[in-house]
Symmetry: C2
Subunit: 299 residues, 2 copies
């Protein structure tokens, strides 16, 4: 019997933990967890993302601040805002919504966020901490952190003796995911577009994580029977069966046929997707606990 | 026919490149490459290492500075020295010889070295740069950088389609080595003490790198015929055949039997060992080129 992970459900339980811990932190130390979200320009999709992050932050009991800047904002003014937020003790997490309008240099802005407030986990210092296994002071980017929650709830904390294969080697997902799996004692293989015999490599995986952006690339015969399959791809494909010009979302895994082989699988949509924003809240809570000298909850 | 890599020979060719580029940099921009080595206390082995680094730096044409501090040096005085070296434009590389005598906090000292002068590649910023594939501004720790020179001279720059297996996941070697191999497009597996069926995992490797510290653990039947085997282990074992109480150095690979299977292999001693100090010189030269706004040579 295959278990289909309900990402919305897991995300809701993460949010529940964040809510309780936010209230407990406030009670024990008087610290209200604070998240600042910065958005530049008028991109509707970016505004929608930022809106839902703000709503979720309020739901968690955070102080939620949004800074909306015009598209023609200058680099130095954006940098000055980040510096102000870095110095503000009531703000524990800073998120600058990407992409920034041209010609702003987003890399310089991201790297100027204090690593301990970098709740997106994008700074080179947080990458270095993750790479060297320092999860006690580092912050991990939200999507791999969310995927690891699924892995832990399926296999526990210790993945000793399990083979994990990550397909995809992006800095945003594949590399940090591999480091998290390694840190949990899995034997980890990172496969990618240059890998030979990819299907064979994947068949070796007890935990298979796909993050390549190729619709339904992972087929049933790529999967070891009983394996845990985590699908990080979100691809929009034509769905003529729904009517002319209609589309639907699919992952990197051919869900229907792989479901017949896998032990545990995440759907798309409704799998890893809902976890990203939940882990953003978790990271902000973790940052607030550390700032207050308290031990954050485990997710 | 198995190729046995002569590490001394390769190291000498790296040093030759460093010498020429040091002279060329001085001629073109007036910049003399500068390396500062800091040693605290009287440990004879540490003094021997520092001595050979200083001699090699001079041989390369560097300005070579050694700071010898007493064992009872205070943390703040050592930190002040590092701050002075950070600010000194004639110094491009700073190396603090480890281990530091107790109770000095070596982690704080290492992290206080400017990342662009951290020629040992130990700072969290350099770990993050390597983890995110930024080799243009980062500095890579010397032993994995040296092992990669062997890999490049055997397989070229692009390892697409090759499977690499690294046994060992230390921050000093295993993890950075895996990242370098991945960056060169290999499909990379990181195996370690918790790996199940280690021999089977290793048999899959076109490039097998062992860094576990277990004498002659890798046997002939762990190795794919024709594979490149790089042995980073240095283990001292009893050698009664040389007389009572005598010892000898062996690697993590059973050299004699594996030589019969591998296509290319490094010996111990005389393989990776001599590369570490050569890559320290290379890193210092790279740092000096960057400080002068010039493109460093490739190694």
């Amino acid at each position: 019997m295959t278990t289909v992970i309900d990402g919305k459900n897991v995300a809701a339980s993460v949010i529940q933990t964040v809510k309780s811990a936010t209230a407990a932190l406030e009670k024990s130390s008087g610290v209200t967890t604070g998240l600042a979200v910065v958005i530049v320009g008028d991109d509707p999709a970016s505004h929608a993302y930022v809106g839902s992050k703000g709503r979720m932050a309020k739901e968690c009991g955070f102080k939620s601040v949004q800074h909306t800047l015009p598209a023609e904002t200058k680099q130095e003014d954006l940098a000055a805002l980040v510096a102000t937020l870095n110095a503000d003790p009531s703000i524990h997490g800073i998120l600058v919504q990407l992409p920034l309008p041209k010609p702003l240099d987003s890399e310089a802005i991201i790297q100027s966020i204090l690593p301990e407030k970098d709740v997106d986990g994008l700074s080179v210092v947080n990458a270095g901490k993750l790479a060297t296994g320092d999860l006690k002071t580092g912050l991990v980017s939200c999507t791999p952190a969310g995927a690891m929650v699924f892995v832990r709830r399926t296999h526990g904390e210790d993945l000793s003796g399990l083979n994990a294969v990550v397909i995809g080697r992006s800095n945003l997902f594949g590399k940090p995911m591999a480091q998290l799996l390694l840190n949990a004692n899995a034997t980890v293989t990172i496969a990618h577009s240059r890998t030979k015999n990819l299907a064979e490599v994947c068949r070796n995986a007890d935990i298979l994580v796909a993050a390549v952006g190729r619709p339904e690339m992972v087929r049933a015969d790529w999967v070891k029977p009983g394996a845990t399959v985590i699908d990080v791809g979100i691809n929009r494909v034509a769905a003529p069966e729904r009517g002319e010009g209609k589309t639907r979302l699919v992952g990197d895994v051919a869900f229907e046929e792989v479901s017949a082989v896998a032990g545990t699988i995440t759907p798309v949509p409704g799998g890893v997707g809902p976890m990203t924003i939940a882990m953003l809240m978790a990271n902000t809570l973790i940052a607030a606990h550390r700032a207050a000298g308290q031990t954050p909850p485990q997710f």
